[in-house]
């Protein structure tokens, strides 16, 4: 171990799935694995991306599709990041304004896409403009899974709705003000809207692709080569934190940690809901709850589903070569081998995003 190891700066945004990073720091796991880490709370995915690209951060919580977009040169400067761990599976919710939910009629989550599409067609026939929906970033699982769900019922996400981007902490306010009629965001922001009485829970993104991969732990280009030992140590700490989060007895401590470091403005019950596999204010447990340990080992094949969806919606430059995805399960395996009890690797169900109807060129 170096006597005075250099600092790794790791960025995150206030979301429940930042928990493995927050817990690793709070529980002293980074220090125990012999790596100096400073977490940096950030306001935007674009800021995380730029700071990774220009050397202001060494690592970050990242959106899987954004890692691919960066490698393809479709978002900001072209950079090949390295993914050494997944941070979560599932964990996003689709929330509707009570007015829009009313137009659909009574439903029990998960809302069927066909019922949503029928309501939108009735609205269009009565001359109402398409509803505005917010996602958290163009290159996100939220945008891609919502689009898949809409398209599966015959809706065109670019015409039958207006999709915009709103930062997750602003979603509830935007919904209350009528600036948007629905959103798809990571928890606890859906629970927050429901708890505030301005949103109705419609479905979880896990209902669209069960156990889909969510955020990842990504490292700046080349860092896994130049500072491999530190990357392995930090990854081992994050794997251990994911195991700790999976133990039901630790959930209330985890909720308090998240409140302290990520969401000081939210009540504990709202933050605790996602950790307990629920949406605040809804009694029924989610079929596809937020998961940490099962997300930890990065699965390169799962990234192909994002790529397929990004091509479908033309989010990648035409003719762009396959971006060299840096999903490195080998780094994870080496980091996990340092733990006394490495978690069993998890998997998503086969992705519906890979079974996309081929579009004709005419």
């Amino acid at each position: 171990m170096p006597r005075n190891p250099a600092l790794l700066r790791i960025g995150y945004v206030p979301l429940t799935d930042a928990a493995p990073l927050v817990a690793a720091e709070a529980l002293g796991l980074f220090a125990r694995h012999g790596v100096r880490v400073r977490l940096s709370r950030e306001q935007a995915w674009a800021a995380l991306r730029d700071k990774l690209a220009f050397g202001a951060l060494e690592g970050a919580q990242m959106l899987g599709p954004l890692v691919l977009a960066l490698a393809a040169g479709a978002s900001g400067p072209r950079r090949r990041l390295t993914v050494s761990a997944g941070l979560a599976r599932n964990g996003n919710t689709v929330i509707l304004s009570p007015a829009l939910a009313g137009q659909i009629g009574p439903f029990v989550p998960p809302l069927r896409a066909s019922a949503f599409a029928e309501a939108l067609r009735r609205r269009a026939e009565s001359g109402l403009p398409p509803p505005t929906f917010a996602v958290v970033f163009p290159h996100s699982s939220h945008n891609l899974l919502l689009r898949h769900w809409l398209a599966a019922s015959g809706l065109d996400p670019d015409h039958d709705l207006r999709l915009v981007v709103v930062p997750p902490p602003r979603m509830t306010e935007a919904l209350a003000q009528g600036a948007i009629e629905g959103f798809c965001a990571g928890e606890p922001w859906g629970s927050h809207a429901v708890a505030q009485g301005v949103g109705r829970f419609a479905l979880a993104t896990g209902d669209i692709w069960p156990d889909h991969p969510e955020k990842v732990l990504a490292w700046a280009e080349g860092l896994a080569e130049t500072r491999e030992e530190e990357v392995l140590r930090a990854t081992a700490a994050v794997i251990e934190a994911a195991q700790w989060l999976e133990v039901p007895a630790n959930r209330s401590a985890a909720a308090r940690l998240l409140q302290e470091r990520a969401f000081p403005e939210l009540p504990l019950s709202t933050i605790a809901a996602a950790l307990a596999g629920r949406v605040a204010g809804c009694a029924a447990p989610l079929a596809t709850p937020l998961r940490f340990a099962a997300a930890s080992r990065p699965v390169a094949g799962e990234a192909s589903a994002w790529l397929a969806a990004m091509r479908r919606w033309k989010h990648l430059p035409a003719g762009a070569p396959e971006p060299a995805a840096g999903w490195r399960a080998d780094l994870w395996d080496r980091a996990a081998a340092r733990l006394s009890a490495p978690p069993a690797p998890g998997r998503a169900t086969p992705s519906p995003l890979l079974a996309i109807p081929q579009e004709t060129d005419a």
Binding site: K51, A53, F54, A56, P138, L163, P167, R170, A318, A362
Partner: protein, 195 residues
Amino acid sequence: MLEEGTLRVLLVDHDEDRAAAVRSGLEAGGCAVVAVVPEARDLVALVRESAAEVIVCDLDDPSRDALESMRALYRDEPRPVVVFAARGEPGQIEAAIEAGVAAYVVEGLAPERVRPVLEVAIRRFRAHQALRAELDGMRATMAERSLIERAKGVLMQRRRMSEAEAHHWLRRRAMDRGQRMVQVARELLSNCKAE
């Protein structure tokens, strides 16, 4: 009154004090700040009304992601977004400018650096847009040509025309109806499918 050649800047900043400082930095650098807004809501309309040529935003502003989506989610009124970082690290400016497209990082807001950086950002953005439009155009032309070729193939096979005759047939029909050849070809092909 704006001076000839003044750059029209729209500033997005949720921090009022910082916005005031950035505004004076931009104005000292010879820019006209035509609007200052705390968030990116209704930005498309605002860009149109204010005739802003460039949007300036702090690297850490919460509106960054919404600004990104102006390009990726809907394509109306694209404008270059120039990003400033209060604390730049050595090498960042060069790396950022070299990377092109969207992000330009500048150490502080030294007035003599503001205008050149904005100008480079706008030039690069326009070059990128032009290249993209050209590529889109090329792709569209190729797709249209392939439709016309397929329609000609149908005419040659079903009506035993030569290639020149098929081409002539499509062109005459297009002229008669005041349509483009590709429209006639598309209609012909969809009729074939329906049969």
